[in-house]
């Protein structure tokens, strides 16, 4: 089954909870590292961001996310799973628009792989944003 990496709207607390407990049966994963990216209410030209509208090139996003996960798993031998979910559509300030979770046997690869995944997502995922005020 193809992984679903893009969702419409925010990454909700319910989805985060579901994703974080989905690997509980893997008793070999001693470390779980999570990054959650949220929309920040930046001030721009004396206006405050109230939401961001995300758009994506879905066909390419799936290919690039597959490649990111393959790269991370190859680079960090102790990694057992990599989960990436990015929002499309409108996400309000304070809501989550990006979820990354890496499980590994031990904390070193979990934390470093999570950071590496984040940097690759920011560099390679064909996603664009438009600030709303």
């Amino acid at each position: 089954m193809k992984e679903k990496y893009l969702i419409a709207g925010p990454v909700t607390p319910a989805l985060i909870s579901e994703l974080m407990t989905s690997g509980n049966e893997d008793t070999g994963a001693g470390a779980v590292a999570v990054f959650i990216g949220r929309v920040r209410d930046d001030e721009q030209d004396e206006r405050r961001v109230s939401a961001i509208e995300y758009s994506a090139y879905e066909e390419m996003a799936v290919k690039e996310t597959d490649a990111i996960i393959d790269t991370v798993r190859s680079a960090f031998s102790d990694v057992r799973s990599v989960v990436i979910v990015h929002s499309t559509g409108i996400v309000r300030a304070g809501e989550a628009s990006l979820f990354i979770m890496v499980t590994a046997g031990h904390r070193d690869h979990a934390t470093r792989a999570c950071r590496h995944t984040l940097e690759m997502v920011k560099e390679k995922l064909p996603v664009w944003k438009k600030e709303l005020f």
Partner: protein
């Protein structure tokens, strides 16, 4: 003819999500896009061919799908 897809600020500037253009290679396509949509000239876009990022200019075949990709802003 190739199908050209516009994303992000490129979609806003052109006012189009996609269009069909006649081009035999990506260099020619870039020129045609800049002539047809001069507002895109300051935008440092990259191209993807059939869903894969292009790292160099290449020839195109009829039916190819080319995406115009402004700088990414995810995460």
């Amino acid at each position: 003819m190739v199908k050209v897809l516009y994303f992000g600020i490129a979609r806003e500037i052109t006012g189009k999500a996609e269009e069909e253009l006649e081009a035999h290679d990506t260099a020619g396509l870039r020129h045609l896009i800049n002539v047809s949509h001069p507002g895109l000239r300051p935008v440092p876009f990259r191209l993807a061919l059939n869903g894969s990022l292009l790292r160099e200019e290449t020839t195109l075949e009829s039916g190819d799908k080319i995406a115009v990709l402004p700088p990414f802003a995810g995460g």
